[in-house]
Symmetry: C2
Subunit: 328 residues, 2 copies
Amino acid sequence: MSSTDRKIDKLIDLLVKNATVVVPGPKIASEIGVTRFRVHNWIDDLRTQGVEIRGFPAEGYQLVTIPDILVPSLLRTELGDHPIGRNIVHFFRTDSTNAEALKLAANGAEHGTVVVAEEQTAGRGRLGRVWFSEKSSGIYTSIILRPALAPSAAPVLTLMAGLAAQKAVTTVTGLSVDIRWPNDLLVNGKKVCGILTEMSAEVDRLHAVVLGIGINVNHSLMPTELENIATSLRMEAHRGISRVQVLVTLLREIERHYQLLLKGGNKAVTGRWEAASSFAHGKRVRVVTAAGEALATTTGVEPSGALKIQYDDGRNESLVAGEVVEVK
Amino acid sequence: MSSTDRKIDKLIDLLVKNATVVVPGPKIASEIGVTRFRVHNWIDDLRTQGVEIRGFPAEGYQLVTIPDILVPSLLRTELGDHPIGRNIVHFFRTDSTNAEALKLAANGAEHGTVVVAEEQTAGRGRLGRVWFSEKSSGIYTSIILRPALAPSAAPVLTLMAGLAAQKAVTTVTGLSVDIRWPNDLLVNGKKVCGILTEMSAEVDRLHAVVLGIGINVNHSLMPTELENIATSLRMEAHRGISRVQVLVTLLREIERHYQLLLKGGNKAVTGRWEAASSFAHGKRVRVVTAAGEALATTTGVEPSGALKIQYDDGRNESLVAGEVVEVK
């Protein structure tokens, strides 16, 4: 984690808190602990990121408008004092929020720590795929959980995250959102959100789970190779969507659904998941696993999080790995 | 990983390879890429570690004897060209070889990478316990595996490691060694080896498994608080044991048993495990889990690696977590 990133966050915090007045340059410099010259350079940088800051010669700086940037201070004031989001680590740019979160977790970061980036240069998806992570259009976040559970709880934690993300997107946009097992969010049949769960563990206990969540929010178009399978909230809702609002709602819903899992057990999650996804029952799917591809019909979700399917040849299976694609 | 450690390894390698001659100081300095003064200091350090090095004024240095130090070059010449041990990272002192191995794995270290330390300052055991890691008396090693398997394979990998360690200890010492589920090695009822398996993974695939193995080799006595439950190979065999020989044999056996698992499947491992452990069938045990303690009798091992037990109240269970203690 770069300490420069932390200091720029502090600079934005300072300007946000003093948004109605002109803040003298020397005051900013001394509060952050850098030179006036450095403050001047950072303010120029922020302007290129879309943050409007007015400079008054010999007086100081005043914030005019800030764009939809996921600055910790803006998020935290909305979140209240719940564990999830109490500690937020923000990057303008990083390789992968999951990689950052796993490093933080290995160094002891507490339950609920959230990593968020405006841009990922090597965003990760499931099955070793790349996640398209355009600057400031999407939400790229990773949440560290430390449940007192075994590694076998990871699949239900991932379903829990999908439910929370669905609820958050629906609440903010009003869109109707489907969940494709295990945890892709679809709007009008196209993907708007993907979740990559990673963990560090012993054989019988989790050290940390990292829920990596990518949401396409304000992309006004998709790259050609993705346009048939992916979309953004803006493209579907036909209006710009506040990333801050989506992220804050997402973190609140993760908190709520995580408590639901801890108190109600796996079935509290898988029961709700079955009600929330058109893929739970009677969906015709192509099943893609390491063993190959086959056609099947879904028949429900196990309490473990596995997807129950019946292959066209009559065999039943509970799917733990792999993916399913709707067949029309 | 400290680059100084790597350079000291290089210095020892150089002295080992030229053991019959006096090596000029400037030659050593230029081959390692440090000053002559630094070479002089390191040689003094090595002498305090028990490495006997003769200095000839104006001529150079000659290795007289080296103690039982786990230097990569000594290990590697014995290992042949198998994946396990092809890359060995040696520390005179580290906090925890598992912690180092997990960091190396996160940075892409290849399958078979081995971390080994003469001393651990924060050795880890199962269930959050400390592993007593006295300098140069034990073997403290962590092996990185990258199997194309799901996280649910971790328990059988850990049984595989226990079998390999049992075979290695018996081969080198001739002692009769029992395995207590999941993977403690016992000699005459006392523990000589513990294994801590850690992993980083997605929900449906392992990124890396770290097998952390601690063996009490040349301790001539145990700390008072451990003397009733732990012992060393030297204390049981009544002679000093070569740590190099134990470690080399261990790495070869891990290679062999890992191939057995990949080719023969879980049952090839659990079948052998059942034959190798007095705990597999009909052992009276106290079962200690997060839920509490209860008395039971063991009835076998599942292909998954879980221990089958029947509680005294008649209930059957397959134990994934927790531990068992023999009841006499």
